[in-house]
Subunit: 877 residues, 2 copies
């Protein structure tokens, strides 16, 4: 019986065999196949890794024989051997998984060196110091990685040697020093592990292979996979490759190259190299590498060869490549190639260029952009160089991307005041709807508490404004007008800088770079729209928001939160009057004050949106959110309202809720106070009537929030229809409108068939749905969610990316039940997830009609939607 | 083509035809069939009612003919006629649905009277006053009910007549007065409606029939059906029956009778009657009716006949009957029979007696008891007579049944102090776990806020203690030690009385009657256990609870809330130390103090439960619940803990949550602080080990609360197993145990298959599941739930009876998914619903293994379970 093929000599595999050979192994084979100069070697498959674990850390039968066979082939081709101490074979042993996990797993270099072969190497290279250094590095690496000797033991020994010799740098140690160090190292291993450093290269290889396979499941690798959503059962391959040396003299060298510029995308080879050096030296930073263009002068042949290889690789892979190479005594060797990482701008440039060069088709180009990456392009960024020199004082959650520089203010009023003179950053323990005005004038927002979907984060993202939330390092004393952070006391008016894309907080001002919408961006978005199947709308609450949304390509408004209009200075008073009203009559009077303002809002929004659909959500938050909290404010506002402070306090107290998220809000308010719903729908319909007369074709979509029971929508829809009829009669016009509901309560999902019998559209409010499905308050989950993600209980923050198994399952149930009853039910999503690529793909898959997101996320959502459509098409084919 | 049969002459139907003929009609037919003296008549079917609505308030073809045919038959048999003004036929027209809706629909009596027939009647009866009175009553009833003339118009006219005559009572008006009144009444109708009171009896009949059918959908009837869960499409029948008169002299009379005593169940005819009176007179209360035994003396023949009829009816219906009868000139007529309502004690007595009498079998007896009714028997009750004289000062929700008398106390400490001298009632705005000690010593609890499942309500029910919750009438000033209620100021130490079964609050002391477990109860529960398929366990947190649970027949503990043990005086300090600990080491030290106490608890509970299964839930509430809230207490406790008040305040502040219900609680605590879980499981297993050595066979069931993600239970189960292994090794014993989870998060339901791969049992925590499925906080829903139920948005409080469509659907999904992965998965329910009959039936239907409820609800749950099993068996057969 012959066993499976566990080992592939370079050239036996192809680039498509990544899963079996890992990314590195597959590409080494591929490069060999297309005739590039790759040092010989072989790959032990990822399958062996998985079997290794399945068999309880033992290898499958037949593997040893295959390794020996391939080693023999390698020795024969190289004319070198593990056993031939005169002409010894030296190899590297490297990990390589299907998905790159840089630095997570172990690597062993110079394997094959021992007390004898080190001498042959000296004979061959005539460089005693290099050889002893290589040997001591190998022992150190082997001791550390393979034999688990504490790293610091070796560090201590080398330090002792330097002290003894009175030198400062490793490079100042002589060949003899290093030779002595080799003996010291060997002693350390013997002492620590009770066994000697193995002199037999075959044994060295076996032990290194064990170590690499075991490193697949080391802690940091597991954590990395958790963070990056990489399955744990992929396994790593092991690549055994003949060593080449870039440090064999002035005709040797090492470097990295990109086929195109990874920052700008410019179609020109980019990279750097060092003469007479090994890869390590580049990393160590002792010598400064030279730009690749210099190579043209220093080694014109090698340069020409490298440029040729770049072209060949790009034509072959049809994407920008990131390569490692080594020059050994005038010979160029390719050690690695992989898809090159790039900035968003570069990614766009490359995609557009490659389509023009006919290297790739448009569909491929669309798939090439990581949607999330685009976010950088749509927001201000800190100047990179300046940022490196900035004084970092704290780090919070990257709650809303972009950069902001401003003077610190601690409340909305002073933020508004200060903003008339200077840029402002609003700093608060946590924000609440009272702070809206302050947030609106601020460049950025910094909070001490709250997660990625806290009030501050959600509102800031909606405004396209930089926000660092939940910065637990800081302690805010609003009343005293300062905050403490890691020993710094930052007072009102001090300058700080925020990086909302990383969560960093800096003291002082750091220059900011503005975003620009490039021609490439426009071309690219045109392509995206060709493939995209689902619509993309914006969450926009004001006429200004609406204009921004249109600029970013919104196809309508999926969520217009009417309550955000209530916080403006001229309205909040009427809103408060309405809330403290002691009778229905008084309440109606206060509402009548609001009516013309809301009507004006809607007229402007409808106009801005140019007949595109606009979904307006009726009042959602609990009423107490509109009332003041501080003693001071209560007194002031009671005065304004013409009532006693005690009375206002009593009202506030009576509205207090233990769990406001689960309280008297959403359509529950409309059931209790039908007059609020009446005012709002009247404002909507009067706006529609007016514009209809002016020739617009407005079809307002009235959305009832927080429906859990069909009777709720049944009752409220009847009232809405009633008001629409009245307005049409009064105005003498006819207009169409739709009445639908948010689906954000688990009960609405499982009774979606009933609800669809009344609702003309559904819009999933996945923020609330996630809260209720998990039982997490997004305001409080900061206490345990980070811990959950760190411990792998959750792979991702479910408020950022939709939880497909739980929340997604309920969404699917609702879609299925809803469409069963009403075939043409229009279904969208308007939670935060509407702008998350993974979630957009999910929405595409389950057949939603559109997603709605912050205006600034629209391009990202569109790309994600196009990619989802392309993927689906490809899966079908 | 002959049309369907829409009209049944009495005798053509049977008692089984309730759905078609309504309860009254079917029983009138049945009584006719078995030869009882029933005035002749016919029933127009409920089908006609439904057709009437389906056809837009028109009647089906062929109906008129059938009515005329039956009318003719009635006239012929009676020897009277609508048209024969000398010998006129008078009839009653009454509604009668399949399910009794007393007083909800309309009735017309004396139909057939007009200006001419009234005179014939005078000739026949020689009682002019009676005849004119009958006529004016008929016009009034007809005007009001059929023609929709405002009732008060007639009232005004009769008052005017009385004023004119200078008399006080209707009875003082003479025949002439009444004759004049008839004219006045006819004028009122003419004025109000523009048409005359119809003189044609056939027209009177037609209009009355219309009115009765329309009354099916009057507001109060719809509301009644909503409250009592009666479908709206049953429709009512109309019964047309020849009038008999109990007021035709001393040989006439009217009365009601029960075949057995409805209060005690004694097997002796019970009832009352009036000589020379109509049914109305009994209701009006002007004359006091006599007990039925007197009839034996007054009319021995009639009495004998009635007793015979009672016996015959009971043998025929095999249940206690509630009858109406009229004696007209020495002839007994039966006007109605139906199943007699009865008290719980009577119901048990009757069921047991009837089985002994071989009138019914045991299965039938089990079905005869309304489970909820039993509740009265298991709790203290206010003395009925004394209660009527009590001073009612307010009304709240009947949150936990029973009665309580005590001195008012406003906090736990003074309640404890006072309780050493006198009975105490704890009065608070709302309770929190801090109040547990006070609740434990109090006779009853009164709160101003919170619903049927507020903290106060749940804990009180668990303790079997009387509670009136959410009494919005009262305003509690805890700090000032008094409360206001409807103008009364009740101070610390004042006496009040609570009726937890009605929600009433009285000033002063009202005598209380103790419950007793009767022999009948024991016999009956024995029968119940024969038919019951699902288990019934108790929610019990202490050794004392466990003993009560066993007394009530618990088959184990389904929910032992470990945190309730934390509030006892000697423990709370250690708990607080644990919470404020600034390091893991400190926390562990505090936990080590708790370990021996928890172990002792578990030993005692296990012992009390005598090897029955005990499910122990790990710590569930957020930690801040254990910390003090008042400034005073904070200072005191900080002192006790040896820290600064500011530090304690900072800790409390850092633990503050916006929505604690959705916060850091349940298994999330165990993930963050594994040492808490370690202490608790160690206490459980050490208790098990100790008792195993003593010969007990304990199988503790460790329950992890609030699981939403399989990884949570995966991680925690591993820790639990680890501790179990350690304890077994340390103690040198072996014991079995199970690790399972509460299912109370919607996500757990839709991923129950994953969770079942780890959990060995499920227990539905339907309180939390209802909160999350609806998005209602049970602490706050009092703001809108009452409104929702009143407006018919919800038929019932979903915290009291499980919402089958929403919450129930998720439960079903979880059961199905869970059992798919683990066939023998034991599934129970431990929310408040475990003691609600409707919910128990649901649990039976979907195949749960057991329900768990407050010890005091166990008999109720058992009866509900038995009835569900019997119903299922009958449905199958």
């Amino acid at each position: 019986m012959t066993s499976r093929k566990y080992v592939y000599f370079f050239g036996e595999g192809t680039k498509e065999m990544k899963k079996l050979l890992g990314g590195k192994g597959a590409n080494l084979s591929e490069m060999t196949n297309i005739g590039l100069p790759v040092p010989l070697g072989f790959t032990i498959t990822t399958e062996v890794c998985n079997l290794f674990y399945d068999l309880g850390e033992r290898y499958p039968e037949g593997l040893d024989g295959q390794i020996d066979g391939n080693l023999k082939k390698l020795e024969d081709k190289m004319g070198m051997s593990f056993k031939d101490y005169k002409n010894p074979l030296l190899v590297s042993v490297r990990s390589g998984a299907a998905i790159s996990m840089p630095g997570m797993m172990d690597t062993v270099l110079n394997l094959g060196l021992n007390d004898k072969t080190v001498k042959s190497l000296i004979d061959k290279t005539n460089n005693e110091r290099f050889c002893w250094d290589s040997y001591r590095r190998f022992i150190q690496m082997f001791g550390d990685v393979v034999m688990n000797v504490e790293h610091k033991k070796f560090e201590k020994a080398i330090q002792a040697k330097k002290d003894e010799k009175g030198v400062k740098f490793d490079t100042q140690l002589t060949a003899d020093d290093l030779k002595e160090l080799v003996e010291d190292y060997k002693k350390i291993i013997k002492n620590e592990k009770g066994r000697s450093f193995p002199q037999d290269p075959r044994e060295q290889l076996q032990m290194s292979m064990d170590a690499v396979f075991k490193s697949w499941n080391n802690k940091r690798a597991i954590a990395y996979r958790n963070i990056h959503d990489i399955p744990h059962n992929l396994g790593t391959a092991v690549n055994v490759q003949a060593m080449v040396f870039g440090n064999m003299g002035e005709d040797s060298g090492t470097g990295v190259a990109f086929t195109r510029n990874p920052s700008t995308g410019e179609n020109k080879v980019y990279g750097e190299y060092l003469i007479n050096a090994q890869g390590e030296d580049v990393v160590a930073g002792i010598r400064t590498p030279k730009p690749i263009s210099k190579l043209k002068d220093e080694m014109p042949d090698i340069y020409k060869q490298l440029i040729g290889i770049c072209k060949k690789l790009e034509e072959h892979y049809r994407d920008t490549q990131d390569m490692e190479f080594t020059i050994q005594k005038g010979n160029l060797y390719m050690l690695q190639t992989r898809t090159g990482k790039r900035t968003a701008a570069a990614a766009l440039q490359i995609a557009v260029d490659m389509v023009n060069e006919e290297l790739i088709d448009i569909k491929t180009a669309v798939m090439r952009i990581e949607p999330e990456q685009l976010d950088q392009m749509l927001h201000k960024q800190l100047d990179k160089k300046a940022k490196e020199k900035g004084q970092l004082i704290g780090k919070g959650l990257p709650a809303s991307p972009g950069a902001a520089v401003g003077k610190v203010a601690f409340d909305a009023d002073s933020a508004v005041e200060e903003s008339k003179k200077e840029n402002v950053i609003l700093v608060r323990t946590e924000t609440s709807p009272e702070d809206i005005q302050g947030m609106a004038v601020a460049q950025g927002i910094l909070t001490a508490r709250g997660g990625m979907t806290s009030h501050a984060a959600v509102v800031a993202r909606g405004m396209g404004k930089c926000c660092v939330a939940g910065c637990e390092d800081i302690k805010v004393f609003e009343a005293k007008q300062y905050f403490l952070v890691n020993g710094n006391k930052i007072k009102y008016g001090d300058w700080i800088t925020l990086d909302g894309s990383t969560g960093e907080v800096f003291l002082g001002k750091i220059p900011v770079v503005d975003p620009e919408i490039t021609r490439n961006f426009e071309i690219f978005m045109g392509w995206v729209d060709k493939y995209r199947k689902i619509g993309v709308r914006a969450n926009a609450d004001t006429p200004v928001d609406s204009e921004v949304a249109l600029k970013f390509g919104a196809e309508g408004i999926g969520l217009c939160r009417t309550e955000h209009m209530f916080f403006e200075a001229d309205r909040i008073k009427a809103v408060r009057k309405m809330i403290v009203a002691s009778s229905k009559k008084e309440r109606k009077k206060a509402l009548m004050e609001l009516l013309p303002m809301q009507r004006k809002d809607f007229i402007e929004i409808f106009k801005a949106m140019k007949n595109l659909p606009v979904t307006i959500r009726l009042l959602d938050p609990p009423l107490h959110e509109f009332l003041p909290k501080e003693e001071e404010d209560i007194k002031e506002i009671a005065g304004e309202l013409g009532i006693e402070a005690e009375e206002l306090k009593a009202t506030i107290n009576s509205l207090h809720e233990m769990n406001p998220m689960l309280g008297h809000r959403g359509c529950r308010l409309s059931i209790t106070f039908p007059e609020i719903l009446e005012m709002q729908t009247r404002a909507i319909f009067e706006a529609a009537a007016k514009l209809t007369k002016e020739g617009y074709k407005i079809i307002p979509e009235v959305m009832i929030p927080l429906v859990g029971i069909v009777e709720e929508i049944k009752i409220l829809k009847k009232q809405i229809i009633n008001i629409a009829d009245k307005v049409m009669k009064e105005s003498g016009t006819k207009f169409n409108y739709k009445v639908g509901t948010m689906i954000e309560i688990p009960r609405a999902c499982v009774t979606a068939d009933e609800i669809a019998s009344e609702a003309e559209f559904f819009s999933f409010g996945t923020n609330d749905l996630t809260q209720l499905t998990f039982g997490y308050s997004r305001d409080d989950s900061g206490k345990f969610l980070p811990d959950y993600i760190e411990k792998g209980v959750l792979a991702k923050d479910p408020f950022a990316t939709i939880d497909k198994k739980g929340v997604g399952k309920l969404v699917e149930i609702a879609v299925e039940k809803g469409r069963k009853v009403r075939k043409d039910l229009k279904i969208g999503i308007c939670g935060e997830h509407g702008g998350d690529p993974d979630s957009v793909e999910f929405c595409h898959k389950i057949g939603l009609d559109y997603v709605s997101c912050s205006p600034y996320r629209i391009p990202i959502a569109k790309i994600a939607a196009a990619q989802a459509a392309i993927k689906e098409e490809e899966n079908k084919a």
